[in-house]
Each structure stands twice: as C-alpha cells, then as structure tokens.
Symmetry: C2
Subunit: 291 residues, 2 copies
C-alpha cells in the first residue's frame, strides 16, 4: 500500500522501516532529518508536506511524542484532517489522552476520513522485531483497510471498541506494567537482602504464578542494574499521567497503580528519567538501604 | 520410591495422588479421614503414626496449613525429626516462615536427616495437573535424592540456596502475585467504567508487555465475577503475612506489595476470605462505585 508515516522517533523509525521491508510504498516526515535520511536510504521517500503525503497515501500513520504534536499534525492548518481525502485512513499510533483521539475521530468523520486510534505495546524491541501489540479503536471497516499496514509492524492487532478504546486499553497496559515493575523490584530487593541465588529464584518464579512478560524481559536488567532503554522512564510517566487522568474522569480508583507511579516518579526525581523504566528497582534499593 | 505424605488438604490431596500415579509406594496421614480414604482407594496406604511412616519411607513430605501444624509434625514428640533415620529425606512443601524451616533444618542436620524447604506455586490446578513450580532450599544432594518425588508433582524444580531460600522465593512469588491481581483489578474497573469490549481489551493486553500468568488465568474469572477457588484469599493473606514479616526482618521495603495486601485484606473484611483471591476485583469495584 501507499503509506505516509509521520514521526520517526525511537518507536516510529523501526516501525516505518518494517513498512518498507513489508513491501509498502512509504513516504515519511519527521522533525529530525537523520532518521528521515535513514528511511530514504532504506527505500522510503521524503514528503515535503503533509498535503503532499496525504495526496499520495491510502493510509497515513502518526507516531508522535505527545498530544501537542498530535493536535498540530492532525488538526492544525496544513494538517492531516485538512488535507485528507474521503476514504483515506488515518491511524494514530501515539499514546495520548482518549479525549483527544475522540475529538480527532469526530473531525475525521465530518470529512469522511477513516480514523483509528491504535497505540501499541511491545517497546523498542517489539518495534524493531515487528512484534508490537496494537490496541485499536474505530470501525471494523477502517481496521480492515489498514490491516496490511499493521501486519508489517505487529504480531497482534485487536479492535477493542470505538475511537478512544485503543487509548484506554493502552492506559491499562501501562498501569499494570508499572505495578508489575515495582512489585518485581520489591521482590528483587527482598531476595538481595536474603542473599539467595537470584538467578535460580527468578527461574523458579518464571515457572510459577508470578511469571509475567515484565519479569522475563525486565527482571534480568534489574538484577544486573542495566538500565539502557528500552523504554524510557519519562515516556512511561507520560503515559501514566494520561492513564490516571482518564481513570479520575471515569471514576475508576487505582490505588496500587497510583503508588507505583509515584515510585517511578522517584526515578525522575533522582535525575534518571532517560533511563529504562526498570530503573525503578534503584528506588526500592534506596528505600531499603536508608538512601 | 517409598514416600510418606502428611497433610491431604486442597493442595496435598492431589499432590499425593500424583505420587501414587507416578508409581511411588505412598503412605499417608491427614487430620480429615475423608481424603485419607480417597488416597487409600487410589492405592496409598494409611500410616497409623509418624514413626510407622518414617520407618517405611525414604522420603517424607509435609504439606500443612501453617507453622503451628508444621512445628508439631516436624519437631513435636513423636514427630518426624524424633523418628527419622540417618539418610532419610524430609521435604516440607508448606508455606511458612523462613525462620521456622531454618530451625527445622538445623534439627534435621543434627540427626543426619536431609531436609529441604520446598514450597510451591501453581495453585490447586497445578497440584492436580502435576505442573507445580517447586522453589527449594537445602543441599543439592537432598534435592537429587528427592527428585523422583518432585518429578511426579511438578514441572519445574529449582534449588535456590540453603534451607530457607525456598520460602523466601515463595514469599516473593506471593507478593508479586498480589500486586498483579490488584493492578489487573484496577485495569478491569477502568475498562468497565469506559464501557469498552473487555474480552478484546484483554486479548490485546495478553499480546503486550502487561501480559502475565495472573492476567491469563485470573483475568477471565475477575471479568465474570467467578470467584470459586482456586486459591482462597485467606491462604494468600497468610502467605503475605509471612512475606511482609520476613521483609521487615531483612530491611526490605515493599510499599506496593503492602498496599496490595491491604486491599486483599479488604476481601476478608467483606467476609469473603473463602473466595478465590481474584475476588479482590470486588474491592476495587466497591471503591469505584462509592461502595
């Protein structure tokens, strides 16, 4: 398919590369020109404007840092909604507030543009390997139109409900994940204090009811204090802000998620917001050593 | 092997049955005679006393409700240590305080009895299916002697360290698990409040970083409010009391685990301690509806 891709960051760049590898005709736009050049060398073309991109694309994908950038790119003058054509599919894969994608969805509908909110889980490694999990909100028709695009980037694509449902599911993914990371951190510190063989203990935990993807993928990093991202703490905190604001709006009380978010915020307070979110184990180590 | 088994409760009964099925010569003792009769019908023999059992067994396994029962059976007059013989293997698979098993281990060593603390994860279904995860503390020699016994009951057997290391690992299993269950509950309530398709949302979450054994096995029960045990809340709370006491003794700070434990304690406060621990979702539903 002819696909436009806007936002070649940590996630977007490998996602766009997988689109090229998957045989799609990809045009790209991004703030940093280094990643744009990389994509051009991989076989994509550089679009000079959003209007040029929408004219040439059946599907336009955005993967942007936050709501400010998304609002500008989607709804601004010269943006996607202003330039899209009836029948085009606009897929936003950023993690933003559910209310913003509902607003974008309404504006798209008024212009006969299909819209999906389709945030992902799986992190940089999932983006590189093309094994992301897509949580989509929108119509089944839009999803089927965009399916070849998703298939090049993801191993799981689920339609959860109307526009906004993808963001809500992503919010839950992020709150469960932060709680898991902190609980695993607490367990590691207990095992460290007891002086047992942590690798064996982890192997046993992986065989029991405590097993999780977070334990398998982040546990070893935590044990070895290897906090190269991965998924940066500041990005997880951004997502958690969205999740807890949505929870408040909906009247859903999330005490463990909120406490875990506070403990991850302590990573930022230590000046480590650029480290992988597994660095939250350092906060628990600090609490447990008078630090 | 000739195996003695003491404690035919929710977990012990199916574990002992799997020993019989695995071709072991099993003798049993339990407080309730119903399960004893069931085991005899399955091919086990009824031992009239611990001394009769130890004389006839290469390995004696205990699976008891708590420290009071274990202390009595292990260290009491007419108990296992008093009646064991040099070279016999005593395997305690109960979940109790690490300090108690260290004490039992020392008493065994003085009598040349091999001792392993070997608590399990996997719940009643793991006990029935023979797919428990065993977290063992003790010597490698003792583990090898008892391995045929473990193999009949478990799919994963790990030696974590000296006596007590099994209990510490089990403690971590239980604290990670309670935190997971509460975080999943919070996510379910958020999705319920948003009115999205929860089955689809869960399918998406299982494809992402939030996936865990708890999500897969307990999520559907929580969504459907099916709280038949499974693993009773009161038993999880007992284990969490052990875990948090050990954590305090070792100076390991576990804020999320402690909060999650409190929220699970609210299940007990509702009078639902006999329900499956997944019933903690009802506490979050209550908080989120002014209940």
């Amino acid at each position: 398919m002819r696909v436009g891709f806007i936002g070649l960051g940590v996630m977007g760049k490998p996602m766009a590369k997988n689109l090229v590898r998957g045989g799609h005709e990809v045009s790209v736009i991004s703030r940093s020109q280094g990643p744009v050049q990389e994509l051009v060398e991989a076989g994509a073309t550089r679009a000079s404007s959003i209007s040029e991109m929408t004219a040439a694309s059946e599907v336009v994908v955005t993967m942007l840092p936050g709501p400010v950038e998304l609002r500008q790119v989607a709804l601004g003058e010269g943006g996607i909604v202003a330039n899209g054509w009836p029948g085009m599919v606009f897929v936003d894969m950023s993690t933003v507030d559910p209310d913003l994608v509902v607003e974008i969805g309404a504006r798209c509908r008024a212009n006969d543009i299909h819209f999906l909110d389709a945030p992902v889980s799986g992190g940089e490694s999932g983006a590189i390997d093309g094994t992301l999990s897509v949580m989509a909100g929108g119509s089944g028709e839009a999803l089927e139109l965009a399916r070849p695009v998703f298939d090049a980037m993801a191993s799981s694509v689920r339609l959860i409900g109307p526009v906004g449902a993808g963001q809500l599911t992503k919010a839950v993914n992020q709150t469960i994940l932060v709680s898991s990371l902190v609980a695993i951190s607490e367990g590691i510190v207990l095992l460290e204090k007891a002086g047992v063989d942590i690798d064996q203990a982890f192997a046993a935990l992986m065989g029991g009811m405590a097993n999780s993807r977070a334990l398998e993928r982040k546990g070893p990093q935590m044990i070895n204090s290897d906090f190269r991202p991965g998924f940066r703490t500041e990005l997880h905190l951004k997502d958690l802000g969205i999740a807890l604001a949505a929870a408040r709006r909906l009247g859903a009380i999330m005490p463990v998620s909120a406490l875990a978010t506070q403990l991850m915020t302590a990573v930022e307070a230590r000046g480590d917001a650029k480290l992988d979110h597994s660095a939250v184990v350092e906060v628990i180590r600090g609490l447990s050593s008078g630090g």
